[in-house]
Symmetry: C2
Subunit: 449 residues, 2 copies
């Protein structure tokens, strides 16, 4: 792991680009890993990055293009001709090639595809473009090693060698029947330890996990994790072998899912990164802040309705931020547990069981916190009745918040809405308002006003 | 994917266990995937689960034990004798075996290890136990396929076949020198397409990525993701080949990291799941709620200091939940972006650049939201001066919140503290208090009181 993107290196590359010193650039970068060069290009300006992409061999640059930031890639591709892009696509696996084509403006897509020379490759890419991005079809590559169950081992090995040339990683050798239906698999390891004279139909493992081409990406991720698979074949409804998904694509799905959930919990929509523009950040954050504003205005309106209390019980108003904050915190905790349970597919028991458990939990936490708050307000303010009003309210608000925080994500999930949107500002805001309303109603009741 | 854990199946298993109908149980479960049986066992009580573990073959049950919930595993292991546990460990790869041994009470560990017959296996497990759980050493397995650079291909293939028997997945064949130092690798694919007459030192790829045994697990995850590796060799300081980490272990690291960050953002410490006990949940959640309580009490104390304003400017008090909520929301958004950028290792530029960007962003968002709030309060309340006081406060609070939300995780990271703790209630609470303080100070200034 010796390669590091230092400031000096970036400066050096900049100078060589400016001097158009191709031989020095090739010497400096030609041997590096594409992921490292991709990282380096993110630090250059568009002109410099394009220069390097055009200079290096397309075998290397195609891999670089896959690794760099989507925004940067889009701009570089604009600077390349359709023919140049087609050359990059020739080098890529079908899944990566299809992803890049999908990112091009529609009017360019056909033109670029027309420049790809390998007809088989074109056919595969066009097929992959028809699948939904978030489905098994959208993740799979057409590259795989498959053998016919009726072949003998000699033919099998010969055909496999030819196929393996175009497959980056051979995980499994899939066995199909004459109609192309998936029958089973041969493992590479078995092949290593088996005599070469055996017949395929005798030695293949008939049990093979597969996913349907229309299965959701998240579901494929769950299956591959559960069964610790490094590759899984993709079939259509009639079990024809269409492609294969490898674990590295699934790692990306898992990361993206986790990041999306995390950002939603923090009140950020869309997939923004630290280096995106202020406009992109505003678009991702402002709607949630606006929701918070509405909530705050709602809370103010509620408090306005209880204005008559203010002269005699000013202290009640001092504790509204506390009530709102606790309602929000409890709601977020409860919803996070549910969202995570749903994502991992390990929630057991009925909705009623869940709600009852969160109710109990809220009772425990609420009791402890209310007693503490009671003690504090009593000492601070001296009025036992006010202290009772505030602490009972806290108790009730915590229970409501826990139940709402549990119910909303479960409800959204039932309706096929991503429950993760329930964790962030959504729960916080609704619990704020409800909490303050409950608070003043109980206070009025207890204080007998 | 036909196997599903239905209620009927669970019921059937329960009945067979009660009747001690071993042959029916073996028929029902013997052919199933260990991950499915593990899921099923989670739904049974301890006695039933133990019965099944004792019944099934240890080749299958060892894999089941690795998959089931840690809590359940701990209890089942208590019900097994040292010899029975040793039998399970014999079947497992060294990394999984070491994980299980590490979970046993210390007084049992030695006893269990003493019952393992394979001395090589014992040596490997004992070595793995010495590494930190969150280091490369804690993740690696000793199983791998390695060949000596001085061997010829015939010997190499013979030795590889023997080694491959004990390795679940052969990703790469590592090439070492006479002293056991890592020299390079042979890819299985290359082996498929190369003539068998070649000499190892001529055909191996001298370039191979490796991690040091003391590297942090998260760093290994970042490297394996960046370079799309499915396995990486682990070496000591002198580059001796010690073991190998595979992508499935890294998937677990990535998931756990993401879940931990997510839970911290939601105000939950420790790794709790929906099905953990109320006590465990309380322990994980209450401290953060207590922090929120302190924050609320602090906010109340601040408001108490401004009590003199209440008769003339009650409306100021109505907007404290809004100010607190916005301060919290903005802080959480800013910190989430930083935490995610740090986790992905893709934050560029200095702390000053970051702070300046968040400042600009806060100015944009703050301006929009303050103007909206100004309009609303003016219409609602009619007093232009009060509306100005409230909306200017909101503007300033948003800027402070954004800067604090950016600064704290960066600061924690510099001090080698996990920045993720900054996202949840920690930021919310401190921003709440600070927001309310700023709010009243500005209001006093603007209203000239």
């Amino acid at each position: 792991m010796a390669f590091e993107i230092t400031k000096e290196l970036i400066e050096q590359v900049r100078v060589f680009v400016q001097q158009k010193d191709d031989s020095m650039l090739l010497e400096l970068l030609g041997e590096e890993h594409h992921a490292d060069i991709a990282e380096l290009l993110d630090d250059l300006n568009l002109e410099q990055a394009t220069y390097i992409i055009k200079l290096l061999d397309s075998e290397l640059t195609s891999d670089i293009l896959i690794e760099i930031d989507e925004d940067v890639r889009e701009k570089i591709l604009k600077n390349l001709s359709a023919k140049e892009i087609a050359e990059e696509l020739e080098e890529l696996d079908t899944d990566d090639a299809a992803d890049i084509v999908a990112e091009l403006p529609e009017e360019r897509q056909e033109n670029v595809i027309a420049h790809i020379e390998d007809e088989e490759h074109v056919k595969d890419i066009v097929e992959l473009l028809t699948y939904d991005e978030n489905s098994a079809g959208g993740l799979m590559a057409k590259e795989l090693v498959k053998v016919n169950e009726n072949w003998n081992v000699t033919r099998c090995v010969r055909e496999m060698r030819a196929q393996a040339e175009s497959v980056t990683r051979v995980h499994s050798i899939y066995v199909v029947g004459n109609e192309g239906k998936l029958k089973g698999r041969l493992s590479l390891k078995d092949l290593l330890v088996t005599s070469t004279k055996t017949h395929i139909s005798e030695i293949y493992i008939p049990k093979v996990d597969a996913v349907n081409v229309n299965d959701k990406a998240e579901d494929v991720a769950i299956i591959m994790q559960k069964y610790d698979l490094e590759a899984i074949p993709v079939v259509d409804d009639k079990y024809h072998l269409l492609g294969r998904i490898t674990i590295d694509d699934i790692v990306d799905v898992i990361k993206e899912e986790a990041e999306k959930d995390y950002q939603l919990a923090a009140g950020i929509t869309e997939d923004v990164e630290a280096d995106d523009t202020i406009f992109e950040h505003t678009r991702a954050r402002l709607p949630w802040l606006f929701l918070g504003l509405i909530g705050g205005v709602g809370a103010a309106a509620i408090m306005g309705n209880f204005e008559s209390l203010i002269s005699q019980h000013a202290i009640l108003f001092f504790f509204t931020p506390l009530i709102a904050a606790m309602a929000g915190n409890v709601g977020v905790q409860s919803s996070a547990i549910i969202v995570q349970g749903l994502a991992n597919n390990d929630l057991k028991g009925s909705i009623r069981d869940r709600l009852f458990k969160e109710f109990l939990l809220a009772v425990v936490n609420g009791l402890i916190l209310s007693i503490l708050l009671f003690g504090y307000t009593w000492i601070w303010h001296g009025s036992i009745l006010t202290s009772i009003a505030i602490s009972i309210s806290l108790f009730v608000v915590i229970i409501f918040a826990g139940i709402i925080g549990t119910f909303i994500p479960l409800f959204l999930d039932r309706r096929n809405i991503d429950p993760a949107i329930a964790t962030g500002p959504f729960i916080t805001t609704s619990n704020d308002i409800l909490g303050i309303l409950i608070y003043f109603m109980i206070a009025k009741l207890v204080l007998g006003i």
